[in-house]
Symmetry: C2
Subunit: 500 residues, 2 copies
């Protein structure tokens, strides 16, 4: 075998695997958006076959020897091929440690879990979801032990979403945030509260959808390659490659800002995914490199841009055009203040920027303890409610507005939540760096996202998974990560808003 | 190998293939309903990989020897397994005759063709579609020659949709219809025309969708297993098994009856597909047995039931509830007469029952000549327009309302059209038989489809592909097929309506 023939085989394999990913992502997306209600078992059947086949292709002897051959010749490979092989080998060495039947059974379990979670959330019925959630936690721990027996299983979970992240780092990071955020919230609580009445009323779904599409256009999202769907919990997924991306949202008829900011958030994910360099399509380097970096983009657009005075001023006429009756008598400044009102609340995805990280901390604490075996899954609701009381000072009325609100656990995403807080902090530092060369406020005022998107494309998006997340971030920032950019940003913005 | 182990292997293979079918149907459905506009190439990539893999599984040596082993032991198999093996062998022997690269390239071509056809139809631009349509016709002829060199290629095409059907039979069948229908149309043209003003006005899409769902419920379609989407051209597809079926419709804001009857038509297909015996799921016996039988069900619900006086009387209050303003002053009898107005027109899917078969005859003539090499694909528009003038007496204003109106050719469905006419005729004879034991009119008056659906399930649906279409039809009818049931039905119904 020559390196050239091996590479050709490897590329063909990658291309094949991306077709399986296409099918599986689409089946998942269909289940969340369009599929009739009683078809989960039918989807589970197809997914189990396809994931088994994809697993077999990924781990079969032929693939392993191909990868080992290429790895042995790594010096002769381009940077791109070297990185791709390195990531494949990493994946394969992990997958090999998980018995195939268990891997396939877990995929099937997740499909069913999604369905059970939806019903449980709708009916405020944690008990019906508990057994399947127990199985998800148990499998997560078992797989972590298979893959990295030397590691604490929760560190393994964290590392899946942010390479190298540990509980120690998270503890330190969250402590730093808490030290600044908790006193800030106290000062805000004592100040004159911001009014957000303009967000409330009746907003019909079709006007909201029209507005959502307007937001996507302003953000510079190519609608020819990015769809918009409706789901219980908003998410973004690529279908097979960065050439077809879907975002979803959920419309609240009582508050248009809920879908507005979920569209901007998912739109940030979509921009990142859609803007991998085109030659990364159908390889394992296509799309975002880690969930921390991913959330740095989504929360960048959602908050740092989307809740800025300049952007709100720009988008205000669109809001008025879509909701003329409801916005009567409210100025752009009213809207800016409304979307930045700070108020400890129940739902993470609707939380303001200041209290948001406290929502994440609750989940982090619970996951950490559940994975460590210190907390039984059946006790999650009680502990959830206790921590919401302790961290946010709110009483959780029911599990629908508590432990059942997020789709992450039912999707197996244990260890994901810290990415949101990390991403928020990355984003603040990225914005500071971007402002050295781009007049961000002027762009937002003008609704011209091109210079902002260009900066992100050049420094982050185009690389896909070519560069490790830590290196990518540091190279974009030009300095090490420092969460004080984020806490300073929050202090400054909210001191002004609340005249502290 | 024992028969038992061979059967276990065979069932595993069938189950695997159905997962590939699930993925491919869903990718197609997504492309037609939901996918962003510029993603056809991305879908083509995934489909080419999946269809190649499915082709490989179907035709590999291992599968062939397995099937030959089972075929050699056919006497030991259950009727179900015997029929399944027989169909698989038939497919495989055909597929083996088509070089794999050509098969895969054709699947990719069809994905692109769908996109090109949509744009061509939208822009009245046959020229942009012509090269790809030429390729589709050429490939159809080439594949027919590979598979059945002894046969006229168009007979091979016809047989794909209705086992054993030939041009000779079609010619005779259409001649019989023409002999009765053409004079009937002449008598109708001389009579007092029926008024259909109540169908026209402005009907918003969301009310039409609400009405479509009401129709599905009345028809006894389980919405938990049957979705409703929106597409350019309505269709029905199973997703992996009869446990998940999707129908689509197209809403005309000027005429609600267009989507109404497409929903009932596709609903008939869906009922057939959804009601295969449950143990046929994930086998090649799941779903309808031929397109002629399929259309006998769809056109049965659409016309024989859906345009009957009894059904229109039953559904009238729902129409009024959805479109109260537009229906003001119109009675159920007005609606009945409106949906049965006979008028030679341009669009097949909107044609009345009497002229419908003439639309089919145009397509049949053109396909037959194009496949035979007597007509160049580039000349289809001119010939289309000429035949519409000759058969229907209408002038085709542009290709959007002419040769580009249907999706069948862009989907490779050459030879499909005659099924519509055959199905219509099968349906009339089935209705006559059903009426011997079911009081169909009383059921329709009461909106109680259960006894009708039960009859169809017992006599047709539950068999899936267990029985050959000809045998299935004759066993349901209790006598040979006879198109005079259909022409008699048309004569009687329209003589009454038009007081001939």
């Amino acid at each position: 075998m020559t390196v050239a023939t091996a590479l050709a085989q490897y590329n063909a394999l990658q291309s094949k695997l991306s077709a399986y990913n296409h099918a599986m992502s689409l089946i998942f997306y269909d289940g969340a958006t369009t599929a009739p209600k009683k078809t989960a078992d039918n989807r589970a059947h197809a997914l189990s076959v396809l994931s088994e086949e994809s697993y077999r292709l990924t781990t079969c002897e032929e693939t392993v020897s191909l990868l080992e051959f290429l790895d042995a010749h790594r010096e002769e490979l381009s940077q791109k091929d070297r990185r791709s092989v390195e990531l494949s080998l990493k994946d394969i060495r992990e997958l090999q440690k998980i018995p195939m039947e268990e891997f396939v059974a877990y995929q099937e379990l997740l499909v069913k879990a999604d369905d059970v979670w939806h019903d449980a959330k709708e009916n405020n019925d944690f008990a019906s979801f508990c057994p399947i959630l127990e199985e998800i936690f148990a499998t997560t721990v078992r797989f972590a032990t298979y893959c990295a027996p030397e590691m604490h299983p929760y560190n393994y979970c964290l590392g899946k979403y942010e390479d190298g992240l540990t509980m120690e780092q998270c503890d330190a990071f969250f402590a730093a945030l808490r030290q600044k955020i908790v006193p800030l919230i106290k000062r805000i609580t004592r100040a004159q509260q911001l009014d957000n009445a303009c967000l409330h009323g009746h907003f019909d779904v079709s006007s909201q959808e029209k507005f959502a599409r307007a937001l996507m256009r302003v953000m510079g999202i190519d609608e020819g390659r990015c769809g918009l769907g409706t789901t219980e919990h908003p998410f973004t997924t690529s279908i097979g490659s960065h050439r077809d991306v879907r975002i979803t949202t959920n419309y609240s008829e009582e508050d248009f800002s809920s879908s507005m900011y979920s569209v901007i958030h998912e739109g940030g994910h979509a921009l990142y995914d859609m803007n991998s360099a085109d030659d990364l399509a159908y390889t394992n380097l296509d799309g975002g490199v880690s969930m921390g970096i991913h959330e740095s983009q989504s929360r960048f657009y959602e908050n740092l841009l989307g809740r800025s005075e300049a952007f709100v001023a720009h988008i205000y006429p669109d809001v008025v055009a879509c909701f003329p009756e409801q916005m009567k008598g409210y100025t752009a400044q009213d809207l800016y203040r409304a979307v930045n009102r700070v108020e400890p609340s129940l739902i993470r995805v609707e939380a303001d920027e200041v209290t948001y990280c406290l929502h994440v901390m609750v989940r982090y604490e619970l996951e950490k303890r559940a994975v460590s075996g210190e907390l039984a899954v059946r006790d999650l609701p009680t502990e959830w409610n206790r921590l919401y009381r302790e961290y946010l000072g709110v009483e959780v009325p029911d599990d629908t507005h508590g432990v059942l609100q997020d789709s992450h656990w039912s999707g197996g995403g244990i260890g994901y939540f810290p990415s949101y807080a990390l991403g928020s902090a990355y984003g603040a530092q990225l914005l500071a760096k971007m402002k050295q060369s781009v007049d961000v406020d002027a762009c937002l005022h003008a609704g011209d996202f091109a210079p902002i998107n260009d900066w992100n494309r050049e420094h982050i998006w185009k690389y896909g998974c070519l560069i490790k997340p830590g290196e990518l971030l540091e190279s974009a920032l030009g300095e090490p990560f420092d969460p004080t950019y984020y806490t300073d940003y929050l202090e400054k913005k909210y001191s002004e808003l609340y005249s502290l």
